[in-house]
Point group: C2
């Protein structure tokens, strides 16, 4: 019965993997054995800075944010993760060092989680996952590079517009303070931008 429950709960992840590379029965069973569901209430932390990030999370439902608190106490959002996104502090996860980042639920959230040890074991038992996680990482990398490009050469207004385009499902789901923090500006300035845009059309 618990086996059956897992079968059900891992389905979104199996679908996700299956779209990248078709999985064999044994590989599906491995996924079911290694990933475990976990829920977070809104405002609950999935990772606190100072702790080692021992988990690689796939979001089934809800929304998490990965963010840094700098020396001045300001918050900076690296990434939001909604349905079918991955979230973790990769640096802490791989180097096994205390994290400088936090992960917090912006909504009640359900994730499928694999631990560091289990992921290594998964790579050994089914090398196909080396490839799957390579592809997954490539996608994350491309997104990050796009972001660096924008931080370099776009104004805050342009970045806001492109955020709205890229994450239309997010903008009425999370507060503007969070969006500002993702764009690298203050909420006050975002407010000014929004007013400007409104007067334009």
């Amino acid at each position: 019965m618990s086996n059956n429950a897992n079968l059900t709960s891992c389905q979104p992840l199996l679908d996700y993997f299956g779209k990248l590379i078709p999985l064999k029965r044994e590989e599906k069973e491995l996924v079911e054995a290694k990933f475990h569901p976990l829920t977070f209430a809104k405002k609950q932390f999935a990772l606190q800075q100072g702790k080692i990030c021992d988990h690689f999370d796939f979001v089934v439902k809800g929304c998490l944010r990965l963010f840094k608190v700098d020396e001045k106490g300001d918050y900076h959002v690296f990434q939001f993760a909604t349905e079918n996104y991955w979230i973790l502090d990769l640096t802490s996860f791989h180097k096994r060092i205390p994290s400088t980042l936090n992960i917090e639920a912006l909504e009640d959230t359900l994730v499928l989680r694999i631990t560091h040890r289990d992921l290594l074991d998964l790579y050994i038992k089914a090398p196909k996952f080396d490839r799957i996680f390579r592809v997954l990482l490539e996608n994350h990398f491309m997104q990050q590079q796009e972001r660096i490009g924008q931080l370099f050469s776009s104004t805050a207004e342009e970045r806001y517009l492109s955020f709205l385009e890229q994450y239309p499902h997010l903008f009425n789901r999370i507060p503007n303070t969070q969006i500002a923090s993702y764009l690298g500006i203050t909420p006050e300035f975002l407010s000014k931008i929004r007013k400007n845009l409104q007067s334009k059309g």
Copy 2:
């Protein structure tokens, strides 16, 4: 004889891979078959925007820069690659779409290059390279994330100091205009920063 020449020329790359995961004889031979040496004179382009990036380059000697030219005509350096670094436009390479970036030699440079087709073939013939390139990508990703964090919360002076720390071998090897372009500031402002630092000590 040409075989022998390749054996010699691939040695830095074999060393690099060997440090990540030991390679078997067949795997070494595959590397020698798939990677080919290529030289660029200073100022020569290894990639021009608009073309598809069909190559993944390992720098044996010299220095390349990966940069973007924005709408205003300003240049922004994503990455420098010196000895033992990788350089390519990953987005163009994987999505097979025209690149928005350029790669240019800042010094006379020797790379070992693998094409897209040969890399896919390498993954198939030796799945160990799925793992190697996963690890390699993880490292790049971590560096990029660090960079985003800095662009968010550090002043230009702080970023300059941390550049000097992180790339001590680069700062007297490339012009300050390039460093400014990497830091996301104008050469004039970098000059001001350097003057300030000098008066401090």
